[in-house]
Amino acid sequence: MTESESPDLPARPDEAQVPRIGVDEWVATHAGRTQLGRLQQRLSGVPSLGFYFLFGAIAAFVPVMTGNAYVVRVGFDTLLYMLLALGLNITVGYAGLLDLGYIAFYGFGAYTYAMLASPQFGIHWSTLAVIPVAVVATAILGFLVALPSRRLVGDYLAIVTLFFGQLFVTVYQNGESMSFLGFTRQVNATGGPNGIPNIDPFHAFGAKVTTVRGYFYVALIVFMLALFAVYLVDRSRTGRAWKSLREDPLAAELMGMPVNRLKLVAFSFGAAIAGLAGTMFAALNTAVFAADFDVPTLIIVYAMLILGGAGSLGGVIVGALIVNVSLEVLRTPDHATYVFYLLLLATLVAKLRPWRVLAVVLGGTIGFGYVVHAIVSSAAPTWVHGSASVGGWFGSWLEGWALHNDTPGTVGKFLFVLLVLAILGVMTLEGWWQKLAMIPTLYLAAVVWENVLVVEPSVTRLILVGVILIVLMNARPQGLLGTARVEIV
């Protein structure tokens, strides 16, 4: 039907929210939407395996280039997170099953390794024996969790698995003396809140892995093997079947896909990879605590997967790298401050067009800052006598521009709330009013950063993870490297 045949057709009430998909003009513009740049065209010719090998080669040089054990340690953690995101990518990215108990499998793998290779029970198996046992045990656990859940649709699955994750933490945290029906068995299975200490390092054939650098290479090799395995599965019959399950479970079932079996396999496969990551975590840290496997870790892994793009292997690498490195950077106030201002500037440069607007907003913010600083220095001198979070010329400039108070107290907290409200306010405004409102908001952001956020890095990083998830889902739900999908209802 064309427009001319039905001139009186009223618009839908929720017209603006419904994507115009499938209509002729949308299809006609398809080629325009997927137009690639020249560089992108060149790069799209390279098979993705090439990129993965390149990544592996570059990563292998990291410990060679730096002797700094801390950097290598961060690299190891990043590889571990990549492995975790890789496993989650199978369950969530390929099969589309929202598994919120995923981190429990990680914990289960770690605890299994800890129990079989530590003085806890006096068992010291060889690593080559423990790892397969731990991985298979975790896969079986994943199978068992999926068994009652396989009939559940989307959200119900999420809640069952989330509760399973909570259950895991509770049980392992109280595992030093379980009480049941009045019997209190004093079997110390998990060490309770004290965890299991003194875990053996990886050892096989008389050789031991003791250095962080050694673990880095173990993790790199394991990750590359796992990546290759997942890459093959991705292209196999099973991989294609998972994706059809993700796109439309009902249609997949009608096409004769063994939907239940596919779900169980996806769950077990993802769980096995998490268990493998767990064994490495336990071996390097030489101790495991149930609290490490709680919701915050889960959300960080989800943030990685989502940022990179669920269902994309390259996305797993990129997402884990970005999230973990930025979380590490946030630990040191010095680096964090530079990153914060650079990020702010980069966002403004990317989002504000034309450049006149950018100049007005930036200039306005700087001018606004000096004015406020001058007023406050006469009205409330304590707010200009603090010190900036960084040294050098940038720090001294900040001290002369932004407000600093070494003990911001309650006022600082009100400023934080005010900042959140101001950002929400800017989002509702449009046009020039929005640009004008950005000026005080940006200044406020700088003040809140200097006085409140940078002081509490451990909380700030988690707040930022939450914000990343919200913003990313609203702006680009498919992540950096994912492909946009249309859900047909």
Partner: protein
């Protein structure tokens, strides 16, 4: 039979159950209309609880209150409900509204993000330590001295009565609102079929905002009741409570308001009886077992009707 233990656990279960039921109502309403698992709902409850705590501090702290306990309670409830409701509306407006047509996973992850943001912001603003309503100290504990004593010597304090009665009153009010008013009718219609409701001229946006406001206000009230009876408030209290409340909503049949109340009571009683009779460590496991059993035996919940999936 040890009546004392039985009645203690019964009272605790009903009190806990009414708090869960209040939270579950909001979960259920939002899920009914948007099909969205609002993980941030438990954190709205946490904020409500902290608002109540702030009001106590405002009136001189729990040990030397400057007003009558009842006046204080009324102010606390009103403020917590208003704050909870506004917070819920803001969450909807800024985090969920643009995602109504996105793939299902997007709003879910956003909800996790909002929950994470609220919890950690609360920790930044209020500190990680536990705070206490200390309702035993209000005017020398006069509130707890009132109430009645059950046959075997189990004392039911006024705070517990207030929590249960308050929850019942709010639930009745909600039922009346949904059944009798025009907006309530619009809510039911939207929950039944959002597109059809929009075609019938119902302002779906308005309905969704109202749903978030009412559901979140109930969660705020639940926060105050919980603090009144169980004293403690802390930034991470919302996640676990939200989880239990969601299970209550599922057990009762999601989107079904009387079902949410029954589910809340079932979960509250199951939790307190398993703590009393079986093991405090395993109470979570027992709730989990109930959830799995309901999911397998009656996926649509105790009171829910089986949904027909349209293609």
């Amino acid at each position: 039979m040890n009546w004392n233990l039985f009645l203690t656990e019964l009272v605790a279960g009903i009190t806990h159950g009414s708090v869960y039921a209040l939270i579950a109502l909001g979960y259920s309403m939002v899920y009914g209309i948007l099909k969205l698992l609002n993980f941030a709902h438990g954190d709205v409850y946490m904020v409500g609880s902290f608002v109540g705590f702030g009001i106590i501090s405002l009136f001189g702290g729990s040990e030397n209150l400057s007003v009558n306990s009842w006046v204080l309670l009324l102010v606390m409830l009103l403020c917590a409900m208003l704050a909870g409701g506004l917070l819920g509306v803001m969450i909807e407006r800024f985090a969920y509204r643009r995602l109504r047509t996105a793939p299902r996973i997007a709003p879910l992850i956003t909800a996790l993000g909002v929950a994470f943001f609220l919890e950690n912001s609360a920790q930044l603003l209020l500190g990680a330590q536990y705070q206490s309503y200390n309702s035993y100290g209000w005017h020398g504990g006069s509130l707890w001295a009132e109430g009645f004593t059950l046959p075997s010597g189990v004392h039911v304090g006024m705070p517990q009565i207030i929590a249960v009665v308050g929850a019942v009153v709010l639930m009745l009010g909600l039922t009346g609102f949904v059944q009798r008013t025009q907006l309530g009718k619009a809510m039911r219609a939207t929950s039944f079929d959002r597109e059809a409701a929009a075609m019938m001229g119902i302002d779906v946006d308005k309905v969704i905002v109202a749903t978030f406001f009412i559901g979140s206000a109930l969660a705020g009230a639940a926060g105050v009741f919980n603090g009144l009876v169980y004293q403690q408030v802390w930034p991470y209290m919302g996640f676990q409570a939200g989880l239990y409340a969601f299970i209550a909503a599922v057990v009762g049949g999601i989107g079904n308001l009387p079902g949410a109340v029954i589910g809340g009571l079932v979960i509250g009683l199951a939790q307190s009886f398993s703590i009393g009779y079986i093991s405090s460590t395993f109470s979570d496991a027992i709730v989990f077992a109930i959830l799995i059993a309901v999911m397998i035996l009656r996926p649509s919940g105790v009171l829910g009707r089986a949904a027909v999936q349209k293609v």
